[in-house]
Each structure stands twice: as C-alpha cells, then as structure tokens.
C-alpha cells in the first residue's frame, strides 16, 4: 500500500459508516410522518390535551423520542468522533442503541396509541436501556473533547438531564399500572422540562456554538459569554424541574425568568455570529432556525402566563406544543435540512469523471422547500387552533404537516440510499 493510500484509508476510518448515522436520521424522518399522521387522525383531542395515555401522548413521544432524540443520537455519533479526533472504539454499541431505541420508540408509541399499558412498560425499558448506552457513549466522547469546553459543558448537562428524564419517564409509565407517584401531573411537567429544556434544549444550545458558526462561516462566540449563557440555562432547567416536582409556581416562574435571560444571551450570541459570517445567504433552513429562535422565548413567556392563568383554557397545551413542536422540532429540522446534504455529499460515491454531488445542489431540493413551507404553515395553524380551541383547524394543520413530513422523508430516503450505497 502506498503512503497516500494509507493516509486515505485513515481518513475514511474517521467517518462512521453511513449506515450508522443515517439509520437514525431515516428513523427520525419516518417517525415525523407517523407523528403528523397521529395528530391528523386525532385532531379532536389535540387542542384540549391535558395529559394521559392515548393518541396525543403517542404523537408527543413520536416527536420527542422518535424525531428529536433520534436526530440527536445520529448527529452526536457522527460529529463528536470528528471533534474529539478519535474514532469510536467499536461500532456495535451505537448499533445496539439503534436496535433498542428505534423499535422501542415504535412499540412505546403504539402502546400509548392503543392504550396497551402492558406493552408500554417493556417498550419504555428497552428505550431507556438504549438511551443509557447512548449516554455512556456520549459521555466517553465528551470526556475527550478537551478543546471544546462550551460544547462539552452543554453535553454533560444534557446527559445529566437525560438520566433524570428517563428515570422519571419509567416512573410515569409504571404509575399507569401500579400508581406509585404522589402527583402524576407534577412529575409529568418535570419530565417535560427535563426533556424539552434539559436534554434536547441544552444539546441544541450547545451544538449551536459549533454548527451555526460553521453554517454561517463565522468564528464561534466568545467563550466567556457562552459559558455565562450555559450557567444561566442549566440553572433555569434545574430550578424549573425542581419547581415542577414541588408544585411551586414561584420556582417555576424563577426558572422561566432565568431561562429568558439564558435565551436572550444565546440569541444575542447567535445574532453576532450571523452578522460576522462570510455567508450571508443562508437559505430556507435558516428561516426555520430563525423562527425557532423566536419561538423559544415565546414558549417561556407562555409558560409564565399559564402559571398565572393568563394563557386561556388551553394554555398548558399551547406551552407544550410550542416547546416540542415549535422551538425544538423547528430548530432541529432547520439544522437537519442543512446538515443532511453535507453528510450525504461526504459519504456519496463519486460518479466516474466527476466530483461528488455538490452540497448546494442537494440543499436546493424542491422537497426541502415543500417541507419548510408545510412545517411553518402547520405550526402556525396548530398554534392558532390550540389558542382558539378550533379542532377543525388542527386537522388542517396536521394534514399540511403530514404532507411536509412526507416530502422530508422522501428527501431523506433518497440521500440515505445514495450515502449507504457507497459502503456496500
């Protein structure tokens, strides 16, 4: 083998086989379709949802576990070994995560949809086991991320939130069978805060410190300001989760106010990144990201309004929808629309006599445009339907979201096939 060939082999080994990250991205795209389908078919229950097992809870978990967590796992598995400069020691642990979490999530959502609590518990345990393996893998990688202190700090805090989140999740699932919790609603709210603002929210904020500068071609935000934002964000999640468990409106309010401070600082840092970036035309994916940034503080304000009875009869439903369907899903879809063409371009085969498919060509797909437009329309319609308690509008919003998610799934399937074909 020549010296050059040795180098190329080494370079290839640092990229995970495409089947690993893309199985999570493909699953996320599929679960998004199922989520919108569940919401559309059960739109009558969406606007006034107050918790409890059923189709809406199934849709929520298709979104949180199926789309959000699945994307986070795929992106972390792909990005962190590159950032830490050391490939995964073995591929089987991350494959094990997929074998547990993907069918586990599907079974959990099916059990919730069909009210089969006996299936729900083993499905929750399988999903939890997968998430714990992922926690160990991510922790091992973060331990070596010495040159990325801000991302690592957010990552560790997200992992701590994940451990608490899955613990409460299993307790909630068991509570349907053996009634072990003193106040199911308080624990469910803590579960939502730890999942939405804790695990997924902190990961989103942390990865933003690398991804947004990378997309905009700008320097990362100043480390000191970023770390102040990190401490504010973590404090907000801790105070909010404790407030939920204690049923304390004062602590929840304090958590939301500190969260608004963290959010304001984060958005200011991201604004500075975009302003100084070399790339000014950021495309439709950044429309989604900017909308998500607007929804994040709105969610916290709605949360405070709910605490003081100022958000109307469906205020708590609106809060939950804005958190997971508004801020998190919209942000993540914006990032995915940007990063999937990148990854596909890196993995795809080179046709004879030409280069790989260009990122800009893949990102300009009409399917992605359709997805963005449908997602934003569905988001707006469902928000209004919850605020005004209009179930027919929720049905229209759900159907539009379903069309958009179908377009995204088609796009994901197409580039997954191209990327995976290289490794066969």
């Amino acid at each position: 083998m020549t010296v050059a060939a040795t180098f190329l082999a080494g370079a290839k080994s640092r990229l995970l086989p495409a089947t690993i990250p893309f199985r999570f991205f493909a699953a996320a795209a599929g679960f998004q379709v199922l989520m919108w389908l569940a919401l559309t078919l059960n739109s009558g229950e969406v606007t006034g949802f107050r918790g409890g097992v059923g189709p809406v809870l199934a849709a929520i978990h298709l979104l949180t576990l199926g789309v959000l967590a699945m994307t986070a796992i795929g992106a972390s598995a792909q990005l962190l070994p590159v950032a830490t400069r050391r490939p995964l020691a073995a591929f089987w642990p991350i494959k094990l995560v997929s074998w547990l979490v993907i069918p586990g999530t599907a079974a959990l959502a099916l059990a919730m949809y069909t009210l089969q609590t006996t299936i729900m518990i083993p499905a929750a345990i399988a999903t939890t086991a997968g998430l714990l393996v992922f926690t160990a893998l991510l922790g091992d990688n973060l331990r070596r991320a010495g040159s990325l202190p801000v991302v690592a700090a957010y990552g560790w805090a997200a992992l701590a939130a994940l451990v608490l989140l899955v613990g409460l999740g299993v307790a909630l699932a068991l509570d349907y069978e053996i009634a072990l919790l003193p106040d199911h609603a308080n624990v469910a709210l803590a579960h939502l805060i730890l999942g939405g603002f804790g695990f997924m929210g902190l990961l989103a904020l942390g990865f933003s410190h690398v991804l947004i500068p990378m997309f905009a071609l700008a320097a990362a935000p100043a480390r000191r300001s970023s770390l102040i934002g990190f401490f504010l964000a973590v404090s907000a999640v801790m105070v909010g989760a404790l407030g939920a468990l204690a049923g304390s409106a004062a602590m929840l309010t304090l958590g939301a106010l500190v969260g608004l401070g963290a959010c304001g600082l984060h958005l200011w840092l991201m604004h500075a990144v975009l302003k100084s970036g070399m790339r000014k035309r950021l495309g439709l994916s950044f429309v989604l990201i900017r909308v998500a940034w607007l929804i994040l503080p709105t969610t916290l304000i709605v949360g405070i309004a709910v605490l003081y009875g100022l958000a109307g009869p469906n205020g708590s439903t609106l809060f939950g929808f804005l958190l997971v369907g508004g801020w998190l899903l919209t942000f993540l879809l914006g990032v995915l629309q940007r990063i999937l063409p990148f990854l596909a371009s890196m993995h795809a085969t080179r046709p004879a006599g030409s280069g790989p498919p260009l990122t800009s060509e893949l990102a300009a797909s009409e399917l992605l445009k359709l997805h963005s437009i449908c997602h934003l329309a569905a988001l707006g319609l469902i928000t209004v339907s919850i605020a005004l308690d209009l179930t027919w509008l929720a049905a229209i919003g759900g159907a539009i979201g379903l069309v958009g998610s179908g377009a995204f799934a088609w796009f994901t399937a197409t580039i997954t096939r191209r990327a995976v074909a290289t490794h066969r």
């Binding site: 050059a4 180098f7 190329l8 080494g10 370079a11 640092r14 990229l15 590159v82 950032a83 400069r85 050391r86 490939p87 070596r144 040159s147 990325l148 690398v210 500068p213 990378m214 071609l217 700008a218 320097a219 990362a220 100084s276 970036g277 070399m278 063409p341 990148f342 371009s345 890196m346 280069g355 790989p356 260009l358 990122t359 800009s360």
Partner: protein, 101 residues
Amino acid sequence: MLKRRIVTRAGTVQGARIWRTADAVHVDLRGLDPPAPMVQILHIIDEGEIGAVLVAHLDREPVFLYPELDDRGWHHEIVALSYGEAGRVDEVKLRMTRAET
C-alpha cells in the same frame, strides 16, 4: 500581507500563521477550535489571491470543509497525518488545489 488581512478581518480568529513556499501557500491553523480552521481556509480561498495550491496544517481532519471545497471547485488531499496518544490524530496536512477550468 495575507496574514494581516486575515487577522484584521471582522469575525475571524487570530492565530493563523501564513507563509509561502515555491509551490504553495501554507497556513498553520493548529490550536484553533472548530469551526475556525474551516472558516479561515474558506476565507483565504474566497479572497482569491493565493494561486492554485493551499496547504493547511491542522490538528484534526476538517471533514465538513470538504463539501465546501467541492462547491468552490477545489480538490483536496491529505498529504500527511500523524497520530499521538491512543490513536488520536495529532496533525493533519491538507493540500487543496484549484480545479482547472
């Protein structure tokens, strides 16, 4: 000249050392956190004053740079790679060449 322009440009990170050899412009981006190395390389390329060959000295492989290079019509090749403790990559030397039109 190149160094001064890069260092003073708003939004870029200081610390890039640049020099010329007979066949290429070299830039040393070791010690910079991601995504600064990628941003610096693209900034240098987009300035359009470095000729056809740029060699970057990095402490990790900039995998997300490659699609950006492809989009700009530049080829890339890892010409040297050294490993440190426990198989961790310590230095990457990346040679980038402008595609002939």
